[in-house]
Amino acid sequence: MTPRVKAPWSLLVAFMSIALVITACQSQPAGTTASQAPADQADPNGELVTNMGAEPDTIDPQKESFVQEIGVTMKVFEALMTPSLKDGKPIPAAAKDQPKVSSDGTEYTYTLRDGLKFSDGSPVTPADFKYGWERLCDPTTAGDYAFTGYIVKGCEKWNEMDTKKASKADLDAARQAFLDNIVTTNNAITFKLTEPAPYFNSIAAIWVGVPVKKAAIDKGGDKWTEPATFIGNGPFKLTEWKHNEKMTFERNDNFVGHDGQKAKLKKWTQVMINEGAVAFAAYRNNELDIYPVAAEDLRTIQGDADLTKQTVDGPGSCTFYIGFNNKKAPFTDPNVRVAFAKSFDRDQWVKDIIGGIGKPATSFIPPGIPGYDAEDTFQKFDPTAAKAALAKASPEATAALANLKVTYSSSARNKTRLEWFQQQWKTNLGVNVALDPVDATTYTQLVKKPETLPTMFLLGWCSDYYDQQDWLTTVFSSKASSARVGYTSKQFDDLVFAGDKELNPQTRDQDYQKASRLLSQDAAAAFIYYDATKLLEKPWVKNYSITSLGFEEAHFTDAYVTKKP
C-alpha cells in the first residue's frame, strides 16, 4: 500500500507539461491524419471509445447522482421524456407525446409509445415506470436523488420515514399512500402532484424515474446492476463491466427511438482512466476517440496543427461564484457584497485563468438553460463603482474587512485561482484577503451547513434539468435544499415560489427573470464564470453532440463513427 503520496495530481500536471512539450515536438503516431478518412459514411459496426474517468459508484438509476453514472443509465434506459438537443425543453421519448396536464396543473398523464421493449425482448409497461418511481421514493433504496420525486404526492412522507424505528404497518401504509398517487392503465401512467409544478415534465426527462424490471432486480439482488440483470429499454445494453477498468455497451436491437431510429453505433466502450495526462496520451495513441481538454493542455494543443483541428467547443452546465456568508460580517452589508461582486475583471479571468474554456458570468443561470439573461450585467467589473460601494459600508462591516479570508477546496489549480482573486481585491478594493485551503471532503462539509459556512468561499452549481426552478429555488430560496449563502429575501422567495407554480410559461419566465436580477443586485454571491466543454475529437467521430447535461437521448443515438483509417 502506498498512501505516502495523497495528491500527486498537481505535480503530475507540471511534469506532464514537460513531457508533452517534449513529445509535441516529435512526429504524430500514424493514422491521425484526417485526409485518410473515407467519406462521411457511418460504419455499421462502428465502435466509439471514450473515457469515463473514475468508476461509477453505482449505476442504479434510482440511487445515482454523478454525471458519469447518469451517462451509463441513460444509454441503457429511456425515460418518458428527454431534453431536446435544441433548447433543452422536454420532448417525448418513451412517451408518445407531451403529457396531458389537468386544468389545475397537478396531474400529469403520459401515454407510452406502442411496442416498447426491454433489451431482453419483454414489453415495457406503465407498471415498470411505476416500479422505478416506487424504488426512487422507497426509503430503503436510500437514493441520492429521491428528493426530485417529492413533488409527487406521498413520496416525501414515505421517503423520510426512519426505516429502523417506524413499524412495518406504518411503512406499508405510507408506501400504499404514495403508490395510490401514481395511476397506471395498460398504456398510460398518471402522476398526482402536491402542487402545480410545470418543471415536473423536466423531471420526467431525467434518470430518476426510468422503468426498471422488477424480475431482474429481484433476481440480481444487490448485484442487479451487473450486465446479466441490468436490463433496460434504452438504445444500448451493458454487455461487460470490468470493475475499475471499462464498461462495454452494445446497440440494443429491441430499441426503436421516437424518430424510428436505433443507435448508430454498434459498440460504445467507456474506459476508466483517472489521470487526465494518461487519458491525453491514450487519445494521441488512438486508444481514445474523444478527450475533454483541460486548461493545462491548451499549450500543447495550440502547438500541434492536427490537435488544433480536432478541437470542438460546446456548452457546460455549471456557474461558479464567490459565495458570501450573508449572515456574517462584513457580508451582512449589501454594499460590501456589491463591492466585491464588481471588483474583479471577469474577462481577464476567462482569458488568463481558465484558458478561454468558459464565459464571464454576471448572473446565475448559464447560457443554454432557460432563464439565462444576457442583459443582467449589474455585477460587471467596475472598480470605481466597487470602491464607491465599499465606501458606503457600515463601520462594523468596514472593521470586519481587516481579517477576511477566503476558504476553498485545496488543490494547485484552486490555489492559482484564489491567488488571482487575492490580487484583484488588493488592487481594486484595497482589501487584503487571506487564503484558507481545506481538503475537499472537509470543504463540502463546511459549505453545506449554515453554522459552519465560511465567510467567503469558491463554489459552483451545476444543472440537473433544464429549468429555472433547479437553479433559483433550489439554491437561493428559503426552501433551498442545502444552506448555501444564507441569503434571505422575502421578495425573492415570493417571485420564485410564484414561478414554480405558474402555469403560463411567459408569466413564469418573467417571475424567474425578476428574481434572478434581484439576486444579482443583492449580490447574494459574486458570479464569476460559466464553464464550457472543449473536446478533442478524432476525425472519424461524427455527430457527437456536446450538451450541457450530456444525457439527452439524441446524444447517444445520433453519434457514429466512420471507418477508422
Binding site: V5, A19, A146, V447
Partner: protein, 316 residues
C-alpha cells in the same frame, strides 16, 4: 517451535484489535461524511441525514465500533458507503490484482537487487560498484509517478512498444498472460524496492565481509566460494530478510501511484480514494487486511531467521 508459532498467532488478536481501534477512531475523526460527494451539486441536508441514519453513522462512535467489531468477528466487512458493492466483493476482486502485480515486482526486484548488491560489495569501489550505487540512488530519489509518466510517453506513445492502460485479463495459465500490458507497471513498481534492496544487500555484505568468522574461515583454507556463499552471504541476508517481509506486504497490497497511472484495477488506488471519500467500511477493511498481512509477514521473517542463523533461538 510449534508452541512459539501458536503463541505468536494468538498475539495477533490484540494487535489487530488495536489496529482496528486506532484506525476506526482516526477515520471517523476526519471531518466530512461519505455523502459529501460533490461540492457543486451537493445533496440536500435532509437527504444526508437520512442516509447517515440508514447506515448508522449518526450513532455514537463507540456504538459504531462495537457493531463493527461484532461484524468483523463474524467475518462481515460490511458494505461500502459510496459504492454499491460490499467490501468483501471489492477486496476479493482487487486484492488478487494488486497481489499479482506486487509479487511480480518483488520477484524482479529480488532477482536484480541481490546479485547486484552482492557483486558490488565484493567489488567495492570498482566501476560496477559505482554503477550500482548510481542506480540505487536514482531508483530511490526519482518518484515512481515521474518515471511512470516518462515511460508512458516514451514506450507507450512514441515507441509504441507497450500498451499502458489497464491490466488485461490478469494471468490464468501463463500463455494467457497479457505480459506486454503488465510490463511497465510491474517494472516501475519494482524499481523502488530494487534500489532499496540493492543498497541494503551491499551494506550488510560489506559488514559481514569484515567479520572475524570470515577471516577464520579464510584462514582455515576454505575455498573463496564457500566463504562467500556459506559465511558472508548467509549472514548478510538477515537484515535483508527483515526488510523483505514488510516490503512484500507493502507491495502486494497495492501501490496507489502505479495503479493510478496505469489504470490497474487494484486495491492501492481504491484504498487511497476511500480515505479521501470517508468510506469508513472500505478504509477499515483494507487496513485490517494490510495489518494482518504485515503481522503474518513479520512472523514469517522471524521463523526464517532461525533457519538463516541458528543462533537466533525462537521461543525463549
Amino acid at each position: 517451535m510449534l508452541s512459539y508459532v501458536i503463541r505468536r498467532v494468538l498475539l495477533m488478536i490484540p494487535t489487530l484489535f488495536f489496529v482496528a481501534f486506532i484506525t476506526f477512531v482516526l477515520a471517523h475523526s476526519a471531518p466530512g461524511s461519505p455523502f459529501d460527494k460533490n461540492q457543486n451539486r451537493p445533496l440536500p441536508e435532509a437527504t444526508i441525514e437520512r442516509l447517515n441514519r440508514l447506515y448508522g453513522i449518526d450513532q455514537p462512535i463507540q456504538n459504531q465500533f462495537v457493531l463493527y467489531l461484532n461484524n468483523l468477528v463474524h467475518l462481515d466487512l460490511g458494505s461500502s458507503l459510496v459504492k454499491d458493492r460490499t467490501v468483501a466483493d471489492i477486496i476479493g476482486s482487487e486484492f488478487p490484482v494488486s497481489a499479482q502485480l506486487g509479487l511480480q515486482a518483488l520477484f524482479i526486484a529480488l532477482a536484480i537487487a541481490l546479485p547486484l548488491g552482492i557483486v558490488s560489495a565484493l567489488k567495492q569501489n570498482t566501476g560496477i560498484d559505482y554503477a550500482s550505487l548510481l542506480f540505487a540512488t536514482i531508483g530511490t530519489t526519482i518518484p515512481a509517478f515521474v518515471i511512470a509518466i516518462f515511460a508512458i510517453f516514451l514506450f507507450g506513445v512514441n515507441l509504441r512498444w507497450f500498451p499502458f492502460i489497464g491490466w488485461g485479463n490478469g494471468c490464468g495459465p501463463l500463455p494467457s498472460c497479457d505480459l506486454k500490458r503488465m510490463a511497465m507497471p510491474t517494472v516501475i513498481l519494482s524499481l523502488g524496492a530494487m534500489a532499496f534492496l540493492t543498497r541494503i544487500t551491499r551494506a550488510s555484505m560489506l559488514e559481514a565481509i569484515r567479520q572475524d568468522y570470515v577471516r577464520t574461515a579464510r584462514s582455515k583454507g576454505l575455498r573463496e566460494q564457500v566463504v562467500i556463499v556459506g559465511h558472508v552471504v548467509k549472514n548478510a541476508m538477515i537484515p535483508v530478510a527483515t526488510i523483505i517481509g514488510p516490503a512484500t506486504a507493502g507491495l502486494i497490497t497495492g501501490s496507489f501511484i502505479i495503479e493510478w497511472m496505469f489504470n490497474v484495477p487494484g486495491l492501492g488506488r481504491e484504498f487511497v480514494l476511500s480515505i479521501n471519500r470517508r468510506d469508513y467500511p472500505l478504509i477499515m477493511g483494507v487496513y485490517m487486511l494490510y495489518a494482518t498481512l504485515i503481522v503474518i509477514a513479520n512472523l514469517t521473517v522471524d521463523i526464517v531467521y532461525g533457519w538463516i542463523d541458528p543462533r537466533i533461538k525462537l521461543g525463549r
